[in-house]
């Protein structure tokens, strides 16, 4: 088996998995998701079209998983859990003499690993919900891919905050919370298809979102949605790179 040589990734795996200190985060994620699913099945709702929990179990579970995944992945990338166990990013440059790409690759790989574990843990729950709702297999798989994509996109900004405010933990906390609220709420207010929750629900319902019309141009909603999120991902990645570079230059 190939050994992991990246020290940043090694450190993350050791703290979160080998020592088992990250299990609590996964436990919170899983228990909240399970509780939401159970309540969806049990609690009656007032809307006559909403009379059945099973009919909306997968949709609601997916939305819950999306929000929880984005929230927890942002907090993990931001090193809000077990802060003292990680050495500051600047030390990778100053003491370990690591180059920028290696540090970035280590941190991004760790984020991806976390997201995979999150998805693996919630896989049975989401698949059961899909089976109960009789959602097509394609819809279940596409939802899992979307969850990974959204979580990765938003996590990039968590990594950016980590590099930007390496020493200022409070600034990072404020930033990622503002980012989450702005992106989720303001995007929905400006143009609903930009919002990942709205898009996911419409996608699972098989409904068409209204296209974006600007002057004489018109774009369909999925194009606008993915263009926006890919831009967000790329800009997050670039900003993270720039912030890391600044951090490295500041201590070199």
């Amino acid at each position: 088996m190939r050994q992991i040589t990246n020290p940043v990734l090694q450190e993350g795996i050791h703290v979160y998995f080998t020592e088992g200190r990250g299990f609590m985060v996964y436990f919170f994620y899983l228990i909240i998701l399970a509780l939401i699913q159970f309540l969806t099945l049990v609690l009656p709702t007032g809307d006559p079209r909403f009379w059945m929990g099973p009919a909306y179990l997968f949709k609601l579970s997916s939305v819950a998983a999306l929000l929880l995944l984005v929230y927890f992945s942002l907090r993990i990338t931001n090193q809000e859990f077990l802060t003292s166990k990680f050495q500051p990013t600047k030390l990778w440059f100053s003491q370990q003499k690591m180059n920028l790409t290696r540090v970035a690759m280590g941190q991004i790989s760790l984020v991806c690993l976390h997201l995979l574990v999150f998805l693996l843990l919630s896989l049975p729950l989401l698949v059961w919900a899909g089976a109960i709702e009789h959602a097509p297999v394609g819809a279940i798989l596409s939802t899992l891919l979307l969850l990974f994509f959204y979580a990765l996109t938003y996590s990039m900004w968590g990594l950016f905050a980590l590099a930007m405010w390496d020493h200022r933990e409070d600034s990072r906390r404020v930033f990622i919370r503002c980012l989450l609220v702005c992106l989720l709420l303001v995007s929905g207010l400006l143009y609903l298809p930009l919002n990942p929750v709205a898009f996911l629900l419409h996608h699972l319902e098989g409904l068409e979102l209204r296209p974006l019309k600007l002057w004489d141009w018109q774009w369909d909603a999925p194009t606008v949605h993915f263009a926006f999120h890919i831009t967000l991902l790329v800009s997050g990645l670039l900003s993270y790179g720039v912030a890391l570079k600044r951090l490295k230059e500041g201590y070199s």
Binding site: G20, L41, P48, W51, A55, V127, W128, H134
Partner: protein, 645 residues
């Protein structure tokens, strides 16, 4: 012997290419489409669409499909389409005529007729404009069309279409735009059983058949025509005077001289006019329809040249048929959702306990793995692999169990039927059907043949075009197929006319009302109520074949009764079943509507038909089926004392 074998081999060798050429020849199918009867149909009514398929190639099997646009702005609902389908097999170099009854909501939209087979698709668009008539049609069937003309004339211009027996529809719905079918010297030997049953069904639902006497009386003695005739034709007679007929119509026939009259004896019905004990005009009621027999030969002189014929035809044809809109019940997404919300249907089928057990088991095993991880009793790699195996097993096992193994059904077919009975023993049947689907797939249900109207009920807020509904007629039933999304439903309204033998003998004796209700139907009738001027009086159950007798004291104003049993407002009538109550109060007699809908007759009998014969059903065990049938028979009250009401 060897010579014979050689000859046989040679003949096979020679004929084989020819045979193979015929078999393998690419089918070339051409379509000829004719809407209505010889290109004419009544606007707003279903009509036959005759498609002649000519195959110029090898044998071919395919599906004939007619796409009919429904709904749209004219009906104030979102547009949808019905696809009428029929499987057709064509022999090599053959020609076949197929008739499909269609019911477009607008003539502005063309019909699309296509034949789909493995070799390809042939399609044709049919413009309906220029084919419709605002008035009902009269169909004339005569074996002597080349020699004689039947001067059918009535006050208003009515299209009289001369057709042959093989052009008579096999579907009663195709007759909806027909005023009357007139037979004159026409053999019905070639009438198929389906054509006969369609004719009888149309007749019982209010159709009119007119038999005109002719010189060739032997044609009227065929068993195929005798089943319709109210008389048994014995021969032909020349008569110089018909005083009764002259009196009946107030016109003199003396100038015509000798007339040809069919001699006959009555086997059923009512003689309206007879002369010298020979029935001239006989009327026979069949359900809501009528068969009239006129024994004079109107196709030959001198009667064919008589100016009083229009008077006779006006009388014989009667008024043009009027299709009542019927007593529509409320049937929309809100009513259906309300019914579905009843726990009877679904609550017990939600896999709550298995889901909870699975959740706890999964979390428990995960916690065990975490504990083992912390304890370091096993190597980390073994525990990591165990975690992956655990996730895989729970995912796959749970999917299989919850998708197929749990109690969640594939759907539910719900039908609520109102039998609007009439004293003639027939009932207008209005079935509200809802098919609820829990999967994204094609669903289908069957309905009894003989339906007269099918409509898709669109959601009130629907703006987008609904997916097409396929309608396929089978031997005993009609199949309705449509794609559906998971946790969705489609609503339909179906109408038909069926016998409902429920006899009411009622009499008013001074200040009391006497009722005798006899259930001649093959089902028990339960929770029967008398509704009298907005009040309900419980009568009880009437098992099949039995009678129920009740007497009520009548108030001085004649609008209130006093007698045994419960007396409630119509809106408060209780039933033993929650669904029955919900249906009665929300669909059959909605609470927000005033009594006017039911005030056509201010007194009537209502009750439930137990285990009613299936009108709508599904051939799928994973789709539940629930049906409810309420009957309603008016109680005529206009008759005087001591007479049957």
């Amino acid at each position: 012997m060897s010579l014979k074998v050689r000859r046989a081999a040679l003949s096979v060798f020679i004929s084989l290419p020819l045979f193979l050429t015929t078999i393998l020849a690419t089918a070339e199918v051409r379509l000829e489409v004719e809407p209505g009867f010889h290109g004419v149909f009544k606007l707003g009514q279903p009509f036959p669409l005759s498609v002649t398929l000519t195959n110029l190639g090898g044998p071919v099997e395919g599906v004939l499909e007619v796409k009919v646009g429904k709904g749209g702005p004219s009906k104030m609902v979102a547009p949808y389409s019905f696809h009428y389908r029929r499987e057709v097999s064509l022999a090599a170099q053959s020609r076949r005529r197929v008739q499909i009854t269609v019911d477009p909501d607008s003539v502005a939209r063309p019909l699309n007729v296509s034949f789909l087979s493995t070799t390809g698709e042939v399609s044709q668009e049919v413009d309906l404009r220029g084919h419709f008539s605002p008035s009902s049609l009269i169909l004339l069937l005569t074996g002597n069309s080349g020699l004689l003309s039947i001067p059918i004339a009535v006050d208003s211009p009515v299209p009289v279409i001369s057709i042959s027996v093989d052009e008579l529809p096999s579907d009663a719905r195709a007759y909806h735009g027909v005023w009357a079918v007139v037979f004159y010297e026409q053999s019905l030997r070639d009438l198929s059983s389906t054509q006969k049953s369609a004719l009888e069904r149309w007749l019982s639902s209010g159709g009119r058949i007119l038999f005109l006497g002719g010189l060739h009386y032997a044609l009227y003695q065929e068993p195929s025509i005798e089943v319709f005739l109210p008389v048994r034709v014995l021969g032909i007679k020349r008569m110089s005077a018909l005083p009764s007929l002259e009196r009946y119509y107030g016109k003199s026939l003396s100038s015509l001289g000798t007339l040809l009259v069919q001699e006959s004896e009555v086997v059923g019905g009512r003689v309206l006019v007879e002369d010298e004990k020979i029935p001239i005009l006989v009327e026979l009621a069949r359900g809501r329809g009528k068969i009239l027999y006129f024994s004079l030969d109107v196709g030959r002189p001198p009667l064919s040249q008589w100016d009083g014929l229009s008077l006779i035809f006006s009388d014989l044809l009667g008024a043009p048929p009027e299709r009542r809109p019927g007593l529509w019940t409320s049937w929309d997404d809100s009513v259906f959702s309300l019914l579905l919300s009843d726990s009877t249907f679904f609550s017990t089928r939600i896999p709550l306990v298995p889901f909870l057990v699975s959740l706890l088991l999964y979390l428990g095993v995960l916690l065990l793995l975490v504990w083992l991880w912390y304890q370091q009793k096993f190597s980390r790699s073994i525990l990591s692999v165990s975690f992956l195996v655990l996730v895989f097993l729970f995912t796959v096992g749970g999917y299989v169990f919850f998708d197929r193994g749990s109690q969640i059904i594939d759907g539910m077919l719900f039908s609520s039927t109102l039998l609007d009975g009439q004293p003639d023993g027939y009932a207008e049947v209005q079935s509200n059907v809802g098919l609820f689907s829990t999967r994204r797939k094609h669903y289908s249900f069957q309905m009894q043949r003989g339906w007269s109207h099918l409509e898709l009920v669109q959601p009130r807020l629907a703006k987008t075009k609904s997916s097409p509904v396929q309608i396929e007629d089978g031997v005993r039933s009609t199949s309705v197929k449509f794609p559906s999304k998971e946790w969705d439903f489609k609503l339909f309204r179906i109408r038909s006319m069926r016998p409902f033998p429920f006899r009411i003998d009622a009499a008013r004796r001074e200040n009391e009302i006497y009722l005798e209700l006899t259930n001649l139907s093959p089902r028990d009738l339960t929770e029967v109520w008398l509704i009298f001027y907005g009040k309900g009086y419980l009568l009880g159950d009437i098992p099949l074949g039995s009678s129920l007798v009740r007497q009520f004291a009548l108030s001085p104003d004649g609008k209130q009764l006093d007698g045994p049993g419960e007396k409630l407002d119509i809106r408060e009538i209780p039933f033993n079943d929650r669904i029955r109550v919900a249906l009665f109060r929300n669909s059959i007699f909605p609470q927000d509507q005033v009594l006017t809908r039911w005030e056509e007759n201010s007194a009537f009998i209502i009750g439930w038909v137990e285990r009613d014969s299936r009108r709508v059903w599904v051939n799928n065990r994973r789709i539940l089926s629930h049906s409810y049938t309420l009957f309603r028979v008016p109680l005529p009250l206009q008759v005087e004392e001591e007479e049957d009401l």
